[in-house]
Amino acid sequence: MQAVPAPSLTATDLACRRGDRVLFARLGITLGAGEAVQLVGANGIGKSSLIRILAGLARPYAGSVDRVGSLGLVDERLALDPAAPLGQALGFWARIDATDDAAQAETLGQLGLLRLLDVPVRYLSTGQKKRAALARLIGQGAAIWLLDEPLNGLDSAACALVERLATAHCAGGGLCVIASHQPFAIPGLRRLDMMDFAR
């Protein structure tokens, strides 16, 4: 079996422009296996833009991003068919990601989604949708987690669950980038205040 290189995420000298306004500049992040960073800062400071740049979905105005390892993203867009029952919508991604059935069932149980599998996605509550997106992320088995406001709409029990999942992911050698204005607790979590790079 081929050795999988340890995941890492390195961003150097990133700048992001929205219209004719530079949101941030000279931003650098270095994450190795098992590390996590929380992006903090006021609304509109560019947390989501940074996440999309790190994901490779948006091009930075300046600077570069180096990724080693597969990427998983949870943002405000679910990527689950609204008309389909939850089980079917998640099943689509499970087939694409070749998720193991037993592992998927365990994840669903952990996230409290087992009773909701027959419910069409559009009838789920905000928190339930968020948990469904997390199930999709876990099933993907990506090394680098990019979480954009993962705690939005979650109750305190679910927030603690997300923190446990992120902790377990880091303990397993994965890495996490969390954009959230809410407090987030993972052992060894670094904080990156976007205000320091704002223009």
């Binding site: 490779g56 979905l57 597969s70 993203l73 867009r77 990527a79 068919d81 609204p82």
Partner: protein
């Protein structure tokens, strides 16, 4: 990769056939197609010789108009859902995703359209030979229509009033297919069909690259 593409194609196809959450599905454009073919005799009168002469062209125009109807469901809903982002993260090239969508759009649309052409042709009084030419022309031309439809839908995705703009963009791009496809009826031969197929193939070859570029630019 192949497994992922097979799953994407299957999902696209079911979504386009059933209409998914946005309603519609393939029944609406087909009924629209039949309605256009049906109102034509009312407008130009029941002269069966005239109808038989222009009937083939009417079917082509109706097919083109019907192809415009599902445009806003081709790309926009999945863009809003973030599906394209998730596929991109998994390293599935946008070109493949668009190619699958063109295939799904064609599969969901063309066979039903060709089936509906039989009653439409009967309403317009086409004889068997002409009907055969129309069907062969549609077989050759609809892949091109599907390619143009998906490309334009990708270009206009996320725009306000994108659906109306998409319709306006599709019509000029489909003119070559219409000229050769409907022209095959006038000159009554294989050359028209061959040219229709040729235009279709060119559009099919371009669509994944143009559509993928549009998707990336629209992020």
């Amino acid at each position: 990769m192949i497994r992922a593409l097979r799953n994407i194609l299957w999902r696209d196809l079911l979504l386009l056939l059933r209409g998914g959450g946005s309603g519609g599905g393939v029944a609406l454009p087909i009924l629209f197609f039949l309605a256009v073919a049906m109102i034509f005799p009312f407008a130009v009168g029941p002269d069966s010789r005239l109808l038989a002469r222009i009937g083939g062209g009417v079917i082509w125009v109706a097919a083109l108009l019907a192809a415009i109807l599902p445009l806003d469901r081709l790309i926009d809903p999945d863009r809003d859902l973030g599906m394209f982002d998730q596929w991109a993260l998994r390293g599935i090239a946008e070109e493949w995703v668009i190619a699958m969508r063109v295939a799904a759009h064609w599969l969901s649309f063309a066979p039903a359209l060709m089936l509906a052409t039989l009653p439409a042709g009967a309403m317009l009084g086409l004889n068997g030979h002409k009907l055969g030419l129309v069907e062969l022309g549609l077989l050759a031309g609809t892949p091109g229509l599907a390619a143009v439809g998906v490309t334009v839908a990708a270009i206009t995705a996320g725009l306000k009033g994108g659906a109306a703009l998409a319709g306006l963009l599709v019509i000029p791009l489909c003119v070559p297919i219409l000229i050769f496809g409907a022209g095959a009826l006038a000159i009554g031969g294989e050359s028209g069909l061959a040219l229709t197929a040729a235009v279709s193939l060119v559009l099919l070859a371009l669509a994944p690259f143009a559509g993928a570029a549009a998707l990336r630019a629209g992020r």
